[in-house]
């Protein structure tokens, strides 16, 4: 595989090192002169200096072949977005991966069809939701393309939904309960299913509706 990696910081240089170790052909692009000099002693002809959002820099790095993969890992979200957009739309690069530094910019990547993306803050928050029990709602799966996610909640004794039938809950629009796990047995959730304390419930919902769902199912 031929890969082009934009941004030679910690992430970019380690990704480049790993891909080379796996036997892939690669060009790393780094803009900052002092950083480039450091990288050049290790990566030699496999690193080039320049602004990876400039078409001639990308062309010099072989984007016209095109590469099988472009990975944009600079510290600037707008740069990562533009690099992937140019790679996809102008050079027909089949796969791109972009780093999102500020999670508030995620919506821009989604709007412009740049996916997949990776965001450290978002990953850390997802881990916190997994690890910290009082957060109550565990993210199991994110279906980014479909704009849906699957979460798990455990019904408590004092949850407002305990003792209620699913059809009586005013679930947020864009959400459904999938299944109820009770005493080690899972059942598909239907309108007549009555929730009980201790139930582990799987729900599918649009990202951003977590709070509403939490309120209906769990909050006192």
């Amino acid at each position: 595989m031929y890969a082009l990696v934009a941004g030679g910081g910690k992430a970019g240089s380690n990704v480049a090192r790993s891909l080379i170790g796996m036997g892939h052909e690669l060009t790393l692009i780094e803009q900052r002169p002092y950083r480039f000099a450091q990288l050049e002693s290790e990566f030699e002809h496999q690193v080039q200096q320049g602004d990876a959002t400039e078409l001639y820099v990308l062309e010099r790095a072989g984007i016209g072949r095109p590469p099988d993969l472009v990975v944009a890992l600079t510290g600037d979200d707008e740069d990562n977005l533009i690099i992937c957009q140019i790679a996809k739309e102008r050079y027909a690069v089949p796969k791109t991966i972009a780093r999102v530094n500020d999670p508030r910019n995620q919506a821009h990547f989604d709007l412009l069809g740049i996916s997949p993306t990776i965001c450290a803050t978002t990953s850390i928050m997802a881990l916190i939701e997994h690890e910290v029990p009082e957060h109550q709602l565990v993210h199991l799966l994110e279906l980014r393309k479909e704009n849906l996610e699957i979460v798990e909640v455990q019904i408590a004794k004092d949850s407002p939904s305990a003792g209620k039938r699913v059809e009586r809950l005013s679930l947020p629009e864009g959400s459904r309960l999938i299944s109820v796990m009770r005493n080690g047995k899972a059942e598909i959730a239907v309108g007549a299913t009555e929730l009980q304390p201790g139930d582990q419930v799987l729900a599918i919902l649009e990202p951003g509706k977590e709070d509403e769902l939490r309120r209906v199912l769990l909050k006192k």
Partner: protein, 146 residues
């Protein structure tokens, strides 16, 4: 008629003042509060401190009611992202984006964004200015080349 100007530097502030004089309802956005001083002491239009990539700032500036947007911060890629967000997410028909790099300006023009490249204009104007000097022998040399 409402226009939002993102980036209130030398270019953005001048456009803001011109459009204001022509009767537009103008709101300027800039990261730096000092940029307000570029609009003079009698500025009656809006001015918001913040980053144009921030959708909350765009909303505060009234993007939902805007008819037009001029994007002229000092970053080409920032401008290209903000311009596309205005066009695709907020459905603004008249979005004009400053892009210094002629290559990126041409490419995004082909994707349907209205880009303007001052660099490209400068190149043309400067080359024309050299031709207009009519240096002896220049015209003959050019003709011999074609």
């Amino acid at each position: 008629m409402k226009v939002i100007i993102v980036g209130c530097g030398r270019v953005g502030s001048s456009i803001a003042l011109q459009l204001d004089r022509e009767g537009w309802d103008v709101v300027a956005i800039d990261e730096k509060e000092e940029a307000l001083s570029r609009l003079g002491s009698h500025w009656n239009g809006g001015f918001i401190v913040g980053h144009g990539m921030d959708v909350d700032i765009l909303r505060e500036a009234g993007i939902e009611e805007a008819d037009a947007m001029v994007v002229a911060t000092n970053g080409d890629n920032t401008n290209l992202v903000i311009g596309q967000v205005a066009q695709k997410r907020f459905d603004i028909q008249c979005v004009v984006v400053r892009v210094l790099d002629p290559a990126r300006a041409d490419f995004y023009q082909s994707l349907g964004l209205r880009t303007v490249s001052p660099t490209k204009t400068a190149i043309e104007v400067l080359a024309d200015a050299v031709r207009a000097c009519e240096v002896p022998g220049a015209r003959e040399a050019a003709e011999a080349r074609t």
